[in-house]
Symmetry: C2
Subunit: 221 residues, 2 copies
């Protein structure tokens, strides 16, 4: 039995009609095309997009199911079409530490495992039922080499990613817990609404109790 139904199947279940399913498919890829064009100076030609499209496979991950599990090599990177996922490590004592929270139009995967082909030390699972477009490394190498816009997009996204992650490091070494939280709320209001507090606390490197108290004090002001 197939635990994870195919993405197409999932879309069908969602909308109930095959006709609408195909329409949704089109919409998903159109959205993706716009996303790519937003990050490059020259829009993709139809032919180029055809190549890109053939490299990305829709995939559904149901709530609480893994996209990547500790010990596996990260063979796919995923673009979230709809849904919410979290990336976390588990320490000696079995405590989960959130290192990433992602929603629509974000990418998920473990770069280290992906690049180095080493077993991942992270888990990535779905916090909500999630629709992804996934791509293999081989295909990524292909389209990055062949299609300048994709090359440009990947470079820009790496840049943005580096910038975001640098800010997070700066916050972690230079801000106390309460500032880190307000900083987070200002930077990612959409995440605050999608994930419960105890996950955000973990993301910030504090306990849920501390976050609860920090929030209370912030209200008092």
């Amino acid at each position: 039995m197939q635990l994870v139904p195919s993405a197409k199947q999932a879309f069908v279940e969602n909308v109930g009609h095959v006709a609408e399913c195909n329409l949704l498919y089109l919409l998903v890829f159109e959205n993706f095309r716009n996303y790519i064009n937003k990050y490059s100076t020259t829009p993709l030609t139809d032919e180029q997009f055809g190549v890109v499209r053939s490299c990305f496979r829709p995939k559904t991950v149901r709530k609480r199911q893994y996209f990547l599990q500790e010990g596996e090599v990260c063979k796919y990177f995923g673009f979230i079409v709809k849904g919410a996922m979290r990336q976390y490590s588990v320490d000696d004592k079995g405590v989960e530490h959130i290192v990433g929270l992602s929603i629509e139009n974000w990418w998920v995967g473990d770069r280290e495992s992906w690049v180095m082909l080493t077993p991942s030390t992270y888990n990535i699972d779905a916090w909500e039922d999630t629709e992804l477009l996934v791509v293999t490394k081989a295909d990524t190498v292909q389209i990055v080499q062949q299609i300048p816009s994709i090359n440009e997009m990947v470079r820009k996204m790496d840049e943005m990613h580096s910038i975001a992650i640098q800010k997070r490091i700066n916050a972690s070494v230079s801000l106390p817990a309460d500032k880190r939280y307000t900083d987070f709320v200002n930077s990612y209001p959409s995440l605050v609404q999608r994930f419960p507090q105890h996950l955000i606390a973990s993301y910030l490197g504090i306990t849920k109790e501390t976050l609860s108290r920090v929030r209370k004090r912030a209200l008092g002001k």
Copy 2:
């Protein structure tokens, strides 16, 4: 009066002879060429390297002088040929928070300011007298577009950078201070020897006193 002598001048001062100076110049760029080739699948042709070389300008930054100052836009990225630099922010109370420590064969610059053309919130200064090869953004765009090996190198370096920085975030949310320190010592033994403890403490997000005590306890075991 020129506070920062030209890089060539600096080399001359170091070695004392113009002949050796030119030789050093050659060696510096040969080293740089090897560095680039190490990160790409096809070596640079002589012609390509000529272009690259023309884009990188030697620069000397004396100990305690700024490479980038808070409020400036980061116009140059630098490759450290010899020396040691630190990148830090300064908080409301005037306390410095180290966000980066760099030595030979590392790159320095503020990605956010560089990419977004916004005033930097960081300072970068020399901890030791430092020789750099610096490049402007315009030139970077040129060679990344024109020379596949450079494109590849930049992408790979961004990848490595992302991986390293991701590990640091994971450490900061999931490890206590003592583990963060041993982790750091294992990951960057060369930095431990080049920078004093209070800078490393700041890099780890703890005070120098805490680091001193952490080290003492670690010895006891």
